[in-house]
């Protein structure tokens, strides 16, 4: 698997302060830059869509960081 190949992720989170922080902390700790980031809120929920490298590493990290 090519770990450098970018992948697009779409997370559904609660629409409240601090949700993006969980993601940016993970990405910053892993020294990953996002090449695109988009947040939209819809009532009680918000979607965070982003493109990041080394995509295969990310899902485990999200679970670890409890990003819903």
């Amino acid at each position: 698997m090519n770990h450098d190949k970018p992948a697009r992720y779409n997370l559904l989170v609660k629409n409240r302060p601090g949700e993006l922080l969980k993601l940016t902390k993970f990405l910053s700790d892993a020294e990953m830059d996002v090449s695109a980031l988009r947040i939209a809120n819809f009532g009680a929920s918000a979607s965070i869509e982003f493109v990041a490298p080394r995509a295969c590493v990310l899902p485990a990290g999200f679970r670890k960081n409890r990003i819903e």
């Binding site: 922080l21 940016t24 910053s28 939209a40 809120n41």
Partner: protein, 141 residues
């Protein structure tokens, strides 16, 4: 030449056949240069968020069509395209209980341009200035 500032529209209407088509027909017929459209279905409602030049006539017409409209103040900033910078921004806003309502980004060379809507824009802009960035409410096409 006067150019209208960009605003964020949040529109909401019942999940009924034809409503989405009515909205897009209106935007096209009025030659609205909309961008970054995101659509979501929440329960029995459809919610659409997009950026477009501020247009009071558009807002009034949407309301006449039975479409709920909310406009949100947006501002932009440029920051170095590094993960630490994005984290610093997210951390600063979260620590003050500021909720990000929407965020758009584009990478331009070594910088990332971010357009933000938050629930406390004045507080957010002041905090971001203290981080050393130059947030700006004036966003044009």
């Amino acid at each position: 030449m006067h150019r209208p500032m960009i605003t964020q529209y949040n529109v909401e209407f019942p999940n009924k056949p034809g409503m989405h088509a009515k909205l897009t027909r209106l935007l096209i017929s009025r030659r609205i240069d909309f961008k970054s459209m995101v659509t979501a279905r929440v329960g029995d409602k459809t919610m659409i968020q997009f950026l477009a030049p501020k247009n009071d006539a558009l807002r009034d017409q949407l309301k006449e069509m039975g479409i709920s409209v909310r406009e949100e103040l947006i501002f932009q900033l440029d920051m170095p395209h590094r993960h630490r910078e994005l984290h610093k921004l997210a951390k600063t806003l979260a620590e003050k209980g500021i909720n990000i309502l929407s965020l758009y980004s584009v990478v331009e060379g070594d910088n990332m341009r971010i357009v933000l809507a938050v629930d406390q824009p004045a507080n957010a802009v002041a905090l971001i200035e203290r981080l050393g960035y130059n947030p700006d409410y004036a966003i044009y096409d």
